[in-house]
């Protein structure tokens, strides 16, 4: 199935893959929720940057003991309101390609709406927006071999930036890795396989990196 290790030194169409990384500025959004109903209203009203922060914050939190829920909304409902069933449902929504932030919002609303009553959390849910600050790294891949090695080496923030932020927040529609593999090498099969990885299901950068690498190796080695 793989291309074979010897074929990995090809440069394809000669477009290098430059790794960037992103750190995130947190901004107060002036929205708070005390009850499930207010949480729903907040999710309906929040801008894309705010939703993005609360949905994909967990993947960047990097705890040794991974949190039980994969996004902040589920965490608040589970830990603060104490509704584990609803928290699990909110945690298990889908964010795989081609889902946009609006698709995810619709699914969140559909899950939450029937339960959105006046039950309150122990403390408020404060909606926070985020703004990426993008920084160039010194990592550049010219060949598939470079790419494989660098996906293992680059900072976790860089993996999330290319695999999640660019697609979901910056509107590329697809993760950068798949775009490059297809455009530079015509490798549509592996590009598709990467696109099927749902970043919303991960609560650490390293577990996401692990699955991306596993997929790449399956097709390329």
């Amino acid at each position: 199935m793989g291309l074979g290790a010897k074929a990995l030194d090809t440069r394809g169409r000669g477009i290098p893959f430059k790794f960037y990384t992103a750190y995130y500025i947190s901004l107060y959004s002036k929205m708070r929720a005390r009850t499930l109903r207010q949480l729903l209203q907040g999710i309906e009203a929040a801008d894309a940057n705010t939703l993005f922060h609360h949905l994909f914050h967990t993947i960047r939190s990097k705890h040794l003991i991974p949190p039980r829920y994969t996004n902040d909304f589920a965490h608040w409902v589970g830990e603060e309101v104490g509704d584990e069933e609803l928290a699990a449902a909110l945690s298990d929504i889908s964010g795989a390609e081609p889902a946009t932030i609006e698709d995810i919002r619709k699914e969140l609303v559909a899950v939450l709406e029937p339960h959105a009553d006046d039950r309150a959390g122990k403390s408020e849910f404060v909606f926070v927006a985020m703004e990426p600050v993008v920084v160039e790294t010194s990592y550049v891949a010219h060949t598939l071999a470079d790419f494989l090695d660098l996906v293992e080496m680059v900072p976790g923030e860089s993996i999330v930036y290319h695999f999640v932020t660019r697609r979901v927040l910056e509107g590329t529609g697809r993760n950068d890795f798949s775009i490059w593999l297809e455009k530079n090498f015509g490798l549509s099969e592996v590009a598709e396989a990467l696109s099927r990885i749902d970043p919303l299901m991960y609560n650490s950068e390293e577990s996401l990196r692990g699955d991306i690498l596993k997929t790449l190796k399956r097709y390329l080695l």
């Binding site: 901004l27 926070v128 010194s138």
Partner: protein, 401 residues
Amino acid sequence: MLEKYAQFVGEDEIDAIVKLAQRLEDLSILHVNSTAAGGGVAEILNRLIPLMRELGLRADWKVIRGDQEFFTVTKTFHNALQGTTSAVPEHYYSIYEKWQEINANELDLDYDVVFIHDPQPAGLVKYRKKGLWIWRCHIDLSTPDPHVWSYLRRYVSQYNLAIFHIPDFARDDLDIPQLLIPPSIDPLSPKNMELPQTAVERIVRKFDVDPERPLLLQVSRFDRAKDPLGVVEAYRLAKRHVPDLQLVYLGSPAHDDPEGEAVYNETLKAAGGDRDIHLLMLPPDSHVEVNAFQRAATVVMQKSIREGFGLTVSEALWKRKPVVGGRAGGIKIQVIHGVTGFLVTSPKTAAHYTTYLIREKRVREEMGNAGREHVRRNFLITHQLRRYLMAIAYAAKRHRV
């Protein structure tokens, strides 16, 4: 110096900081606060400014001047803004303004980026001639005295942006962007550096504490917001199950806190002559002693009812100690319930989790490791440096490549 932090945060993080700084190297940066020593702000600036300069940035730090009357006014404002004081005399506002004008005349404020820390120098913005001005708030503004806040808000609204520790302190009645940046600890400072186990035992024994027995520790001022009586009660409840438990409550006298002595005496009375309760009042520069006690502790408590951020929590987590913390202020983002410690709202729950952690060594160790990792990823001085650079980049619209 910056390179020394790579052992904690990795080369890539240092590299990102260098790259961010390169984007800002044409800008002059000034930090202004009200004291050169004592308190968390001065402690952080003492480290941050040299690091900024090492990055090639033209960074300066200036301290405003004032007489006793001015600092009485600003202390009253401080308390009122944190919701703990009543009426503020009307003439206090003119004293505040008089000293803003004096300082504006004496200090060169013509920088490209000016960070004003806390309310004391906030009024300097009235005299701005150029530059981006950032108000860095280090206090809890969630329930301020409306009159004092409405006065200060007129100044704060003139800034380009404001920075708060946590979202709870941000304001709905401000129209400028509000960034959220937590404070940080320095892993290389005497309070947090590695200590030999022998030094830990030696220091702890000096205060008649037995390093072989379980130790519950709280490091904080004798202040009702830190709930010292609740700590003593939690200790008593836990001691029913852990008979050899000891409690150390380690505080420092603060000249600006007239209530400290009264609260100390109340706590002493509550301790009731229990020889396993050690109420220690150490000088403010007892950094190595604090370090040693945090390392000797079995469980660290920070049972605050109100809290700004509570950096003693990060200090303890950094030493791999799980923390039983009050559900207040910045404690909530340091103590992740069931991961780095437990959040509590009463002496009973505090005692419950203290007992649990003393009994379960493996859980204690796992949570301790998770706590250190949480701090390593979020609350070290390099993170604050990077976030300040990001704030400047954001204000100067240089945050995108």
